[in-house]
Symmetry: C2
Subunit: 344 residues, 2 copies
Amino acid sequence: MKNWLISPEDNKEIVISSRIRLARNIKNIFFPHKLKEEEGRDLVNTIEEAFYSSCNTTQDYSTYYLWQSDPLNNNIYLDKHLISSKLLSNYMSAAFIINKDETVSIMINEEDHLRIQCITSGLNLEETYDAANKIDDLLEEKLDYAYSEQLGYMTACPTNIGTGLRASVMIHLPALSMSNEMTGVFNALTQVGMTIRGMYGEGSKSRGNIYQISNQVTLGVSEKEILDNLKAVVNHIINQENLAREKFIKTYEYELKDRIYRAYGILKSSFIMDSAECLSLLSNVRFGIEMGIINDIDKNTLNELMVNTQGAMLQKVYNRELSDRESSIYRAELLRKSLNRQSI
Amino acid sequence: MKNWLISPEDNKEIVISSRIRLARNIKNIFFPHKLKEEEGRDLVNTIEEAFYSSCNTTQDYSTYYLWQSDPLNNNIYLDKHLISSKLLSNYMSAAFIINKDETVSIMINEEDHLRIQCITSGLNLEETYDAANKIDDLLEEKLDYAYSEQLGYMTACPTNIGTGLRASVMIHLPALSMSNEMTGVFNALTQVGMTIRGMYGEGSKSRGNIYQISNQVTLGVSEKEILDNLKAVVNHIINQENLAREKFIKTYEYELKDRIYRAYGILKSSFIMDSAECLSLLSNVRFGIEMGIINDIDKNTLNELMVNTQGAMLQKVYNRELSDRESSIYRAELLRKSLNRQSI
């Protein structure tokens, strides 16, 4: 499995990453929100023990206990989509286990006792699911999962019950966004039991034209059906996006180049930039790379910048809390240094 | 005298150009708006004869008869502030004589029979006036000016009567504009008999933060008084602008650099740009040069771009009328080519 920040070699690939999440709970133990602090930490120990005793490649994994670890560091994992803000809010009894490549993260005492997550680059749902499933099987040998013959895996929230599986794909849809076709996409996806969210911010408004498409239904369908349906839907959206792109370049060649090169020019020269503008400009440059218009920068650099300009990494570099203005100044500096051979 | 497009060596100079205009009319001939076409052309001949027979350096001058000349070409002189749109609208009987350096232009049958103009770079009112005055003296030897002992030189519009002198200075005031202090400047200037106008557009709204300050009163004051007053006023405004600039760089260093470098970045990378945005961005870059923030471009290039992106030059290069979209595309191309060593 490849870290999602490392883009597939094909620049035309508009799917950024694929993610699988399995929600599991341990029998006869309260769900995390009902657990006392000590009980929560005991459960962390139990799960950790089960994991490390069954896992063959223990040397690749590290555990972070949130009540001990560095908040700045944790926020970076948040920006990389490896852990959730829900986990961080349970910091007194939550923990996570993560591998070196940062493709696997096991959250303990998030909404459920266990959230097994695998995230890889590109459209890669089967391989990602297989990796998560393997970890799930290993843990199931040691742990007594809360499972009902009728309903499947029990979860804290009924929307996850059954398979406990959420499969999702992070996808870059600038042409559909620019041509105001996202509302249609939203409605169509809802009708086939899928959810689409802006990657940054839960609402339908997406920053940087990056969306996350995932299955809504977890009950009454098999894992294979969930993956197949999602894959079919994503491929359909990729086609729509590509059609919209072709139309754009035919009708608005100069407007498109203007938008893309201006974005690149501004990213290379600004001295103050907020996070929203940054994501939006990075999206335009990504669009330029995907269209073959910009050739002197690769998508890995963009992925890194997308994560590293999100605030947490900036705070980490300067090793302190930053005001919004400071973040905007350092963000602009990071962008200039990274995108210009010589810094201004 | 130096062509105004060639900037003084001092980058801190915020006065772009100084201009002198003398309005003169010939005795016993109707003002231009009352002249028949043929009478107008006869007058053109008379004045031309008077000029070339008295001028020592005839080889440096060319005459353009508007009823014969190329409109695209004339529009370029308009963009260079060497002729007026009023002259162009009288094209059936108007003409202009211009020297090689483009520092002298004599308009025939504009609002008055004669408009002697000299325009030079920087704050240079005396030298510019001397040049215009010399031409005026030469012409006066051959032509019988409409002159009243009581009022002075007679003109078609009473606002020019007396000296017929309009002295004006083109000045770049970004800091006063950004700090919303221009209204105060406007009011103060009106009270001391001066006029300030946006360089592009007659109203108080200026594109590109470039203003033209000129004397309002032409009657009851001597030429020297007019020049001295204007110079004093301009020096006062230069001081105010410099104070505003110091304040800016102290309080908003990053905001200022951001504005300046973004403008430069956009000018180097856009594919579509309208004239208003272009002037505004060029102003920001000019500000950067004047503040010593940008060092890899000189103001001559900016002056040329300011003129050459105004539409007429674009039409001339492509030798046809251009739609707004076409102009915006060619303008962006010109800017990219001129500001990047290699074109994109």
